[in-house]
């Protein structure tokens, strides 16, 4: 019964907020408080949204955007996480790389768009490279913090060492699980970031497909309801990304007090 109540609350409260937003939108457009050029009516946007879903090309655009974002994120996980774990365990080695990492992390990925076009052309490679650049440095730093020893982590490592554990056993039994919550949190942040970066690259880096291109085309042609429809679709996509990452994060940190469910 309590579970049912909690479920009810978790659905009812966000739904109420959404209903208020829609009511305000309806009122603003119905009473002409904002020009329909900037904010079309709910009906027009709904119609554009259903048209968007009915077009087969939309699914290709969704796939193209997801593919670029996920590939960039995947590559940054593959490269940055192991590197971060090594740096976390070898602080003296990381001292050589900490300053350059902080410096490059401070350069916004968007500032490198044109450099990446020069380096990789206007195809998918430059878009994936922008995502890779933006995500890998965040993941690197998160993995470093996750693997960096503190007193509690050292107690666990020492315990394993006292039982004769090898370095590899120490790594996979203690260092990696200890670092996972940091890494999982980094992946969740980067999943949202990857989508942001891909959308912007699709708008400006000569894309032939992708939701960013669809938004930009709709904006140039003043198809404002379609632009809103794609933005809402992107909202759903971003929400799905976030929920998926949250699920992975909970799996990685199931043993923490708030997450335990066996």
């Amino acid at each position: 019964m309590q579970k049912l109540d909690r479920l009810g609350i978790s659905i009812v409260r966000p739904a109420a907020t959404l209903a208020v937003i829609l009511c305000v939108w309806w009122a603003v457009t119905t009473f002409g408080l904002v020009s329909p050029l900037f904010l079309p009516s709910l009906g027009h946007v709904g119609q554009a949204f259903s048209t968007l879903l009915a077009e087969s090309g939309t699914y290709w655009d969704v796939f193209a955007t997801t593919y670029r974002a996920m590939l960039g994120l995947f590559l940054s996980v593959v490269v940055a996480v192991p590197l971060g774990l090594v740096f976390g365990r070898k602080p003296r080695l990381y001292e050589y790389f900490e300053l350059p990492t902080d410096f490059f992390r401070s350069i916004p990925s968007s500032a490198l768009f044109f450099l990446f076009i020069l380096l990789f052309g206007i195809g998918d490679t430059s878009k994936v490279a922008v995502v890779f650049y933006g995500c890998s440095l965040i993941l690197l730093v998160n993995a470093v913090y996750g693997a960096r020893p503190n007193r509690e982590k050292l107690d666990r490592i020492n315990m394993l060492r006292s039982f004769g554990a090898t370095n590899w056993q120490i790594f996979h039994l203690a260092v990696l699980p200890d670092a996972l919550p940091h890494i999982a949190a980094g992946i969740r942040v980067c999943a949202s970031l990857s989508l942001v970066l891909v959308i912007v690259t699709e708008m400006f880096l000569g894309a032939s497909s992708g939701l960013g291109k669809v938004i930009y085309d709709a904006y140039l042609a003043y198809r404002i309801p379609q632009m809103y429809a794609v933005i809402i679709l992107l909202g759903f996509l971003g929400f799905a990304f976030n929920r998926l990452c949250l699920l992975l994060e909970r799996q990685a940190t199931f043993w923490q007090p708030n997450h335990t469910s066996k």
Partner: protein, 258 residues
């Protein structure tokens, strides 16, 4: 039966700070004979834990050596219960998996580890321990039991316990003392343990007193009680003599320091 002798020879340990060096141990020499039980006493900060860490190979000595000599050919199995047992448990493993770690490191599969951990918990009388719970779901005393069971599961030749009875209720301490005493009779491990409580050193054959800064072995007391040991021996005259001797010496040392 594999037996282990621990030899510590002129051991010293210093810790490097940013601008200072703190010398914790100097010229510590001790031989712990096979199957002997040795208790270590000393004030907080005298380097007892550091000495134990060096003995199990977690830390390296600055000078001198600490080495195990094995009789019987097998490789040395060490069971170590750290002072901070809470953080030494792996939070992502349940009770049985935590206890099975020494077996896992030696290649035992999960089923085998589970069976042996369950058998051990039964034999130790830890029946109230929730076996599928995670460390954050356990009380301090329960975590202590898990850490102790983990140190015992692979039948260690060398058992090192850093304040093993801290945070346990009197009833549990009595049970654990009997268990350790029985285990020592059966398996004959070499045992070193740190304890501040004089009522616990009746388990030992010898008591070493670590004192000073940097610390070394200031005194050594033998506990001439017959084996197997039982808690009732604490009430006997022989133990009262040992106890008074230790207390008198400690009083004299601390009076000098003040």
């Amino acid at each position: 039966m594999t037996m282990v002798e621990m030899t510590v020879d002129r051991l010293g340990k210093s810790f490097e700070g940013n601008s200072t060096t703190e010398e914790v141990l100097r010229d510590v020499s001790v031989v712990v004979r096979p199957a002997e039980v040795v208790a270590i006493r000393g004030d907080n900060g005298t380097g007892k834990t550091t000495l134990l860490n060096i003995m199990v190979g977690i830390e390296a000595p600055t000078t001198g050596t600490a080495r195990c000599t094995v009789e019987g050919g097998d490789s040395v199995r060490v069971g170590y219960v750290q002072q901070d047992y809470t953080s030494s448990l792996l939070p992502w493993l349940d009770v049985l998996d935590n206890i099975g770690i020494p077996l896992q490191l030696r290649g035992a599969n999960k089923a085998e580890r589970g069976i042996r951990a369950n058998q051990l918990l039964d034999s130790l009388g830890f029946n109230m321990l929730p076996r599928d719970a995670y460390p954050h779901q356990l009380s301090g005393g329960q975590k202590q039991r898990v850490a102790l069971a983990r140190a015992l599961i692979h039948h260690p030749h060398l058992l090192i316990l850093d304040e093993p009875f801290a945070n346990l209720d009197a009833h549990t301490i009595r049970d654990l003392q009997q268990t350790l005493s029985r285990l020592h009779e059966d398996q004959r491990p070499t045992v070193l343990f740190v304890s501040h409580d004089l009522d616990q050193v009746f388990l030992a054959d010898r008591v070493l007193l670590l004192h000073g800064s940097p610390a070394n072995i200031a005194a050594e007391f033998s506990v001439p009680l017959p084996r197997p040991r039982s808690r009732e021996m604490i009430l006997g005259g022989e133990y009262a003599e040992v106890r008074s001797e230790i207390l008198a010496f400690e009083e004299m040392l601390y009076a000098k320091t003040r």
